[in-house]
Symmetry: C2
Subunit: 215 residues, 2 copies
């Protein structure tokens, strides 16, 4: 969560990374083939059952190329998910409620995305016990929290909420109910969830909670 | 989360299920041995690497006894976690803020509990891809949500919050940031988290958000 997409780019439901691969160029084609193979491997075997060798074989690319470019599996997976979300820029609807709801809709879209979802499932399951998967997931989520926090800082700059609101904590409160349903309670993510959660979190912030604590 | 413990019972850090096993009686001893073996197996091998046969062998109990009493691994794990939390009753501090903070402290205790935490980790990791583990986790979490929701209904009955507040959704908003840190962002669960999250959620509810929607 935390990064906003053009609906078109995210929702086109294309297993070839939603058109993010630049057409033409051998490097770009190799990259696309490796990412496709990695996604297929992850989907079939999960994080623990996949390695660079299997991905290279499936992609028809030399293993040495993968080692040179990514170093290891976690490097490749990090690059894959960065590419998926790199072009996404934060919302700017003019209100905290609107921006938080837009971020919530993005989480919903990532949850339904044909590439992001299997990536997220595999890395989340593995992260419980595997430090390398944990590092990939934490790094990705922390970067998204920091990026999305801009909408809270903008609301503070507009005078909408207290200036010492803890922007990162607001984003965590917003994102958490989505992931709680996905991975803990196992309940469906309904279409009304972004507005509902955004409304609750914005009300909490306007009431003066979630301030920065002095370290 | 969602069920409140006597600190003593939860915090005694005893791998034999915190003293919940009734002393004396062959049945009780068998049960304790099987639960201890199940926890050790789960901790070492995870959900996918464990089965009733291995647990029976480790416990020194006939496999037929395990089949007769629990049917399968998920039945045994469900019984195990129910026993861990069965004696816990909801908080009653007299205010929604206080009750939600008490529930938050319970989640923190379960997170640090020597038996509950490995159980939760194993089942959460497995639930991403395994429908049987998903069923155990969902059933457990939904039962806790329903039970904890009583503190929200009590606050509504006291006139503290709107009568049509969605009690289950309030509990989800409270619990989610804990599990988000555990399994998604990988950030530590700090001691100030229960008060902080409870304060935010209670403020959101007092502001009139998280109402029941007409079906």
């Amino acid at each position: 969560m935390g990064i906003v997409a053009e609906d078109d780019a995210l929702m086109q439901g294309d297993s070839r990374l939603g058109g993010s691969v630049r057409p033409g160029g051998r490097t770009a084609r190799t990259r696309a083939a490796v990412f496709d193979a990695a996604i297929a491997e992850l989907g079939e075997k999960g994080f623990a059952g996949t390695n660079l060798e299997k991905i290279a074989g499936r992609a028809g690319v030399a293993l040495s190329t993968l080692y040179r470019r990514w170093g290891n599996l976690t490097g490749l997976l990090q690059d894959l998910v960065d590419e998926l979300t790199l072009d996404l820029s934060p919302p700017d609807t003019g209100s905290l409620d609107g921006d938080l709801a837009a971020l919530g809709r993005l989480i919903l879209q990532l949850h339904r995305h044909p590439v992001h979802r299997p990536w997220m499932d595999a890395v989340t399951a593995a992260a419980v016990h595997d430090p390398a998967a944990r590092a990939v997931l934490s790094r990705t989520i922390m970067a998204r929290i920091q990026r999305a926090a801009g909408v809270v800082e903008a609301a503070a700059a507009r005078g909408e909420i207290p200036v010492d609101t803890d922007a990162a904590d607001v984003i965590r409160m917003l994102a958490a109910p989505f992931y709680y349903r996905m991975y803990v309670s196992g309940e469906p993510l309904t279409d009304d969830l972004p507005e509902r959660v955004a409304g609750a979190v914005a009300a909490a912030v306007r009431a003066g909670t979630l301030r920065r604590t002095t370290p």
